[in-house]
């Protein structure tokens, strides 16, 4: 029982509190910032588990890249400037959250209960956090440091090489797609494309009115082309 348990509890409170704030705050921008705090808390857990590399990776990837992307898209959302955005699908969101929770509990629960350090009855936390309720084979945390990195690296290349490569291919495809979407185009090309889309939308809406559907709404691509 060292001060690491106090740090663990503080981190847990920060992470869970921030995570709750993410889904309850009305201001979408604040919610995104709270997500950053939650990510920081998770990085803190990695540090507590002596996995510094993963903590740094968490900060670099989740805070440096994903959160920035998220905040950026929040800023570009229409209506964030004017009024408080409201979630109109909170019912669906609650159902999805419940399903996800059950799935994660079903996946992680058996592992967590069989984890050497965790006892639900006496509430014992994982061994690394507490110090040593159960002695590990490694003599000291310092000695294990370079080892886990090399093991992680060789596992990535050797044991899980195929998955690693597939992830790389997926990222490459995403990048090629992004470049394709953002490619430089001639102005005339864009105008023709918009015109085509507007014509298609018009045909569709005409068909709708002919079939007796609700009165036609102005075709959206045409409105986009007018900008």
């Amino acid at each position: 029982m060292t001060y690491s348990i106090a740090i663990f509890v503080a981190l847990a409170i920060i992470t869970i509190g921030a995570a709750i704030a993410v889904v309850t705050l009305r201001n979408v921008f604040h919610a995104a910032l709270m997500l950053v705090v939650a990510f920081f808390g998770v990085a803190g857990f990695y540090v507590l588990l002596e996995a510094g590399f993963f903590a740094a990776a968490q900060v670099l990837v989740y805070i440096g890249a994903i959160s920035v992307l998220l905040i950026f898209s929040v800023m570009l959302t229409r209506g964030v400037f004017m009024a408080q955005a409201r979630n109109q699908q909170s019912g669906y969101a609650a159902v999805a959250a419940g399903v996800m929770f059950v799935l994660i509990a079903a996946l992680v629960g058996p592992i967590a209960i069989n984890w050497p350090g965790l006892r639900i009855g006496n509430f014992v936390l994982p061994p690394r956090v507490l110090g040593n309720p159960i002695e590990f084979a490694v003599p000291s945390p310092k000695a294990v440091q370079p080892d886990y990195l090399t093991r992680f690296g060789s596992n990535l290349i050797e044991t899980y090489g195929v998955g690693f490569l597939l992830a790389g291919v997926l990222l490459l495809l995403a990048m090629v797609g992004a470049i394709w979407v953002a490619r430089e185009r001639k102005l005339m090309e864009i105008v023709l494309e918009r015109r085509e889309m507007a014509a298609e939308a018009k045909v569709e809406s005409d068909a709708d009115t002919a079939a007796g559907a609700e009165p036609a709404t102005p075709p959206e691509p045409a409105a986009g082309a007018a900008h």
Binding site: L33, G64, V68, I71, F72, P146
Partner: protein, 427 residues
């Protein structure tokens, strides 16, 4: 006691003093977790103080040097050589009115400057200043520095959003494009250094550049000239200094993300900026110039400061002489030139270090030609330099072609216009 011993003592003086302070505190409080915590807090305070002093020194140094470049004298009234100017600045900042915009997102607005300087100070924690004088010798030091550097993007976004000002928001948007992009070449050019060292610890990286143990005995700038060049340029872009200071371009968006900040909040932004720039200089001297290592007649900590000051002078030299780049130039330079070049460079280093190995153990285990470090250096330098020249000539040629094509189009248009102008009217 000969002169060598005395030099050695002076060399290790800083580490000795800090070690003694640690021993004193431990003796006072007794061994235990609490004492460790106190020592950590003391070390953190020391690093933060050092960061603040660095910022004060750099503001003076920069004003003086940029003034010389622009044929002015620079600060000379406050104290000898204007040395008291940073203190005068501090008084000015403290006495200024501390305003908050009425429609600001209050908490976000207030926290942003704190976050920026906190991130900057945090990255100082892994900088090795002298033997045994390092905040914490992390096994992932190089990676830690890059990761923490990416955090300041969020703080700048918060400042831009929280101020509720168009110019602030525009500055924040530019920042994202710039900082997120330039992290990539920075990371890609630290990688060859880590590959040569076989460790991400900054102390190990310095040791590898010395004669001690299995070190190569030469700074990595001679092994990896291309990486050094790309790293320093991306470092300048990453700290948002001129000529890449698009996020606070005065002539376009007033002052970018910190338009609405005044007083000490503004000072915190400046502190974050200067400490970040100083850390880039520290990191460059650690990765490529051998850090505190150097001939013993100058103490290690002085070597470190000299190297860092030289790197920082390059930043100021560029600031004093170059105009600001355009947004599209900035982004194109990164994604179309630096990133592909860095990836080719990594592959090149990977192949060369597999074919030519310096340690006999590795040669016996994995094969490869055993060469002395000097030869490895020469080969890597030749390959890196050749790659750099090839890339530059390719870029220059494509740019020239583009320019010529544009000129042709313009000439054609002019010819048509002239033909119309000179044509007889009527028909």
């Amino acid at each position: 006691m000969d002169i060598f011993e005395i030099l050695k003592f002076i060399n290790n003086l800083l580490g000795f003093v800090f070690g003694e302070i640690g021993n004193f505190v431990t003796g006072l409080l007794g061994k235990g977790a609490g004492t460790e915590l106190v020592l950590m807090i003391l070390a953190a305070l020391g690093i933060i103080t050092y960061g603040a002093v660095t910022m004060m020194a750099l503001t003076w140094f920069e004003r003086k040097l940029v003034a010389r470049i622009q044929d002015r004298i620079g600060p000379n009234m406050a104290g000898p050589f204007g040395l008291m100017l940073p203190l005068a600045d501090g008084v000015k900042m403290l006495t200024k009115e501390d305003t908050t915009p009425a429609n600001a997102d209050r908490w976000v607005y207030l926290i942003a400057p704190l976050m920026i300087s906190a991130f900057a100070m945090t990255s100082m924690a892994v900088v090795p200043f002298a033997p045994n004088v390092v905040g914490t010798n992390l096994d992932i030091g190089a990676f830690f520095y890059i990761a923490i550097g990416s955090g300041s993007t969020i703080a700048i976004l918060m400042a831009g959003w929280g101020s509720n000002n168009k110019y602030s928001l525009l500055g924040a948007f530019r920042t994202v494009a710039q900082l997120v992009g330039y992290e990539v070449p920075m990371l890609l050019n630290v990688l060859p250094v880590v590959m040569l060292t076989g460790s991400m610890s900054l102390v190990d990286i310095i040791n590898k550049q010395t004669n001690v143990g299995d070190g190569y005995g030469f700074p990595f700038i001679l092994f990896l000239p291309l990486s050094a060049l790309v790293f320093i340029i991306s470092g300048i872009a990453e700290t948002g200094r001129s000529p890449f200071d698009l996020m606070e371009a005065e002539s376009e968006i007033v002052a970018g993300f910190h338009v609405e900040y005044s007083g000490m909040k503004f000072a915190l932004f400046m502190m974050g900026e200067y400490v970040n720039a100083a850390v880039v200089a520290f990191m460059f001297s650690t990765f490529f110039l051998g850090g505190y290592a150097g001939p013993i007649f100058v103490p290690s900590y002085v070597w470190f400061l000299l190297k860092s000051a030289a790197v920082f002078s390059i930043f100021m030299w560029l600031r004093g002489t170059l105009p600001r780049v355009r947004v599209d130039q900035l982004v194109n330079l990164n994604w179309k030139f630096f990133v592909p070049l860095s990836i080719i460079n990594i592959i090149m280093v990977m192949i060369v270090t597999k074919v030519f190995v310096t340690s006999p153990i590795q040669a016996a285990a994995n094969g490869g030609i055993l060469v002395p470090p000097v030869l490895l250096m020469a080969i890597l330098f030749a390959f890196g330099g050749g790659l750099m020249l090839a890339a530059l000539s390719l870029a220059a040629r494509s740019m020239r072609e583009k320019r010529e094509a544009e000129a042709r189009v313009i000439a054609e248009r002019r010819a048509v216009n002239r033909a119309f102008a000179t044509a007889p009217a009527g028909k």
